[in-house]
């Protein structure tokens, strides 16, 4: 065995009392099991238990060597050695050998699991093969606790600064992030409040003065990074909300535009119709049929519709175009100069020729004039 120094001696010394108890317990259990069933080779295991303390050191390791096995035997809970042969294909090779060994051993100790063994193969397949069973050696745990425990009730609060909640924190669903964190927060908050009270009662400084500067857990660069990130987040949020607003506005603006156009169209149509009616009336074709109300109505509409300007659009345009581009007749040489055109001096001005006309001012000056 390795290093059998003072540590082990100390350990043994520490353990002595418990160990006797445990041994007794172990024997009891073994006896019970013997009765229950299984081969006679159990007795052997009882004999082996005596050398338990030889291999304490190795117990922490997971090498899977002989020492390892022995170490697991050394566990104070009853373990029988059949379990080791009975290894049900261990997938996590090399990983938690020690624990797996243990759990294998435990398997036949537990009645429900052994009962399950007579299940048919199909159901067994669905079972998780590595059902771990809790070792919970209360006696040893309390002893260990007693060994290390700080006398929290005797020393002033400022020595340990630990606060336990009055009621257990209940978290219904651990995957519910918000409520879980809220419970954690509430727990710590109540502790902070209580702690402050207790510390101040003991006259211990609590609040950090604002002018106290010292090295912080997070360095300034780190905090700057966090700040930058926060700013970034806020900026991106703002940008996205702005973009959305713009998008909405655009959509809405288009609708407004379309509505306006439609309205204008409609207006034009109605006015045109009215003009037509009016024209017919002027021609006197159906003046007889119109009654007074109609006359009044039309006159009113006329006032609003400004027909004089619209009136010109129709036939006048065609006429002008015809004049300009010609309608009917020969178009050839129409634009060429002849005696008449060359004799025409309407476009000539001696004043202009002499440079009397002011040159057009520059762009800036024109803009300034406006």
């Amino acid at each position: 065995m390795v290093v059998k120094g003072k540590l082990k001696m100390a350990l043994v010394a520490e353990k002595e009392v418990d160990f006797k108890k445990l041994n007794l317990k172990k024997k009891e259990k073994a006896a019970r099991k013997k009765k229950a069933q299984k081969g006679g080779d159990k007795l052997e295991s009882n004999g082996k238990v005596e050398e338990v303390w030889e291999d304490v050191e190795e117990a922490a390791e997971d090498s899977g060597s002989d020492g390892d096995e022995e170490a697991t035997e050394s566990a104070p809970m009853q373990i029988d050695f059949e379990g080791i042969d009975e290894s049900d294909s261990d997938s996590s090779a090399g990983e938690n050998d020690q624990e797996n060994d243990l759990e294998d051993d435990e398997d036949d100790e537990d009645i429900p699991v052994s009962d399950l063994e007579d299940l048919d193969d199909e159901e067994k397949e669905d079972m998780i093969p590595h059902q771990r069973l809790t070792i919970n050696n209360t006696v040893a745990l309390t002893a260990a606790l007693k060994r290390i425990a700080l006398p929290t009730s005797k020393v002033p609060f400022s020595e340990h600064q630990s606060i336990t909640t009055s009621a257990p924190v209940v978290i219904e669903d651990v995957s519910d992030d918000l409520n879980r964190e809220l419970a954690f927060y509430a727990q710590s908050l109540s502790a902070a409040q209580e702690g402050r009270k207790l510390l101040k009662a003991e006259g211990v400084k609590f609040t950090r003065p604002t002018d106290y500067f010292a090295e912080m857990v997070k360095a300034d660069e780190h905090m700057a990074k966090i700040k930058a990130k926060l700013i970034d987040e806020a900026a991106s949020k703002k940008a996205s909300s702005d973009a959305r607003k713009q998008r909405d506005l655009k959509k809405f603006g288009k609708q407004v535009q379309v509505a306006k156009l439609q309205e204008r169209d409609k207006e034009r149509k109605t006015t045109m119709e009215k003009i037509k009616v009016l024209k017919r009336k002027r021609q006197g074709a159906d003046t007889e049929t119109t009654n007074e109300a109609d006359i009044f109505d039309v006159a009113l509409e006329d006032e609003t519709a400004k027909p004089s300007r619209k009136d010109r659009i129709g036939p006048n345009k065609r006429q002008k175009k015809d004049e300009k581009f010609g309608f009917g007749g020969k178009k050839r040489f129409k634009k060429s100069g002849d005696a008449m055109s060359s004799g025409d001096l309407t476009g000539f001005s001696s004043k202009k020729m002499k440079g009397g006309a002011k040159p057009r001012p520059g762009k800036a000056r024109r803009a300034a004039k406006k």
Binding site: V56, E57, S162, V169, A192, F206, I226
Partner: protein, 295 residues
């Protein structure tokens, strides 16, 4: 109690015992990690994973009575060992959902080395193994009064909560809104601020800002000694991450097996019907087949 006394004496922190005879809480923690952990000092790593008892010697070398050891496995699983050197107990836990301060971008901050308030869920007092855990947390995460680099103010609180069989750990900054100058000045100057505090009456509002990191621990095993000794607690609900992974793999393999089996069955069926060119049963020669009719 005697063990506690002995530990206090062997502690490296040079502290004078107070005059009134109350024992000091003296803790020194050796923090180490195995290879494969990047978030730590690069030089200080324990090479071995099988001989963890060496940590005891290291702890003795550095006058530490606590060991806090991170063990990384396969570059993806992180285990945390907490031990009271040299006599134990030792707790092995599986660490999950670890988010470092770097990742989390929390706005909280606190003094480096200020003593934390430790807040425990009352559930820790229910079972002996949880009480052991609580005690260890208290020793390892608590900063003893008068520790060498400790700052004189309390500005953060660590929360240990039990939920779903796991221990959830959070770290918050205590921020006091509208910190009244009067209270702080009386704090720092007055020798006996008790009376004044009560007379003062008004307290600032406390709110918390998370600092990070966050992590969840699943206790696996408690050993009686320090990195050795019999196992006095083992958690049956803990499923090793290897097992989880292997089960996933097995599930996938199961799907393949099923498909392969189906293929074989189909072949056999076709063979039965005489639809395969080689192997299987030959189809009976029908007299009405074109081949036989016009032979």
């Amino acid at each position: 109690m005697s063990a506690y006394k002995a530990l206090s004496k062997s502690n490296g922190d040079k502290q004078e015992a107070p005059a009134n005879g109350i024992k000091k809480n003296k803790q020194r923690v050796l923090i180490l990690s195995s290879r494969g952990i990047t978030y730590s000092r690069k030089d200080a790593k324990l090479d071995t994973k099988s001989k963890l008892y060496q940590l005891n010697e290291l702890a003795e070398l550095y006058n530490c009575n606590n060991v806090f050891f991170f063990e990384a496995r396969k570059g993806k699983d992180l285990y945390l060992w907490m031990s009271k050197a040299p006599n134990g107990p030792t707790v092995k836990m599986h660490m999950q959902n670890l988010h470092t301060m770097e990742e989390l971008h929390f706005t909280g901050n606190c003094l480096k080395g200020s003593r934390p308030l430790l807040s425990f869920d009352a559930s820790f007092d229910k079972e002996p193994h949880l009480r052991v855990l609580k005690e260890l947390f208290m020793h390892i995460f608590g900063v003893p009064k008068g520790a060498r680099k400790a700052k004189p103010f309390v500005d953060h609180v660590m929360g240990f909560t039990l939920a779903d069989g796991k221990i959830w750990i959070r770290n918050y900054q205590i921020s006091e809104t509208e910190p009244s100058k009067i209270s702080t000045s009386t704090d720092s100057t007055d020798a006996k601020p008790k009376v004044k505090k009560n007379a003062d009456g008004k307290e600032t509002e406390i709110s918390l800002v998370e600092i990070g990191p966050r992590f969840v621990l699943t206790p696996i095993v408690i050993q009686e000694g320090s990195f050795g000794g019999p196992i006095i607690y083992e958690n049956k609900e803990f499923v090793s991450p290897n097992q989880v992974r292997s089960e996933i793999r097995l599930k996938k393999a199961g799907r393949y097996n099923q498909r392969a089996e189906q293929g074989v069955e189909r072949l056999a069926k076709k063979g039965e019907l005489g639809l395969r060119t080689n192997g299987g049963r030959k189809a009976k020669v029908d007299e009405l087949d074109t081949g036989t009719l016009f032979a």
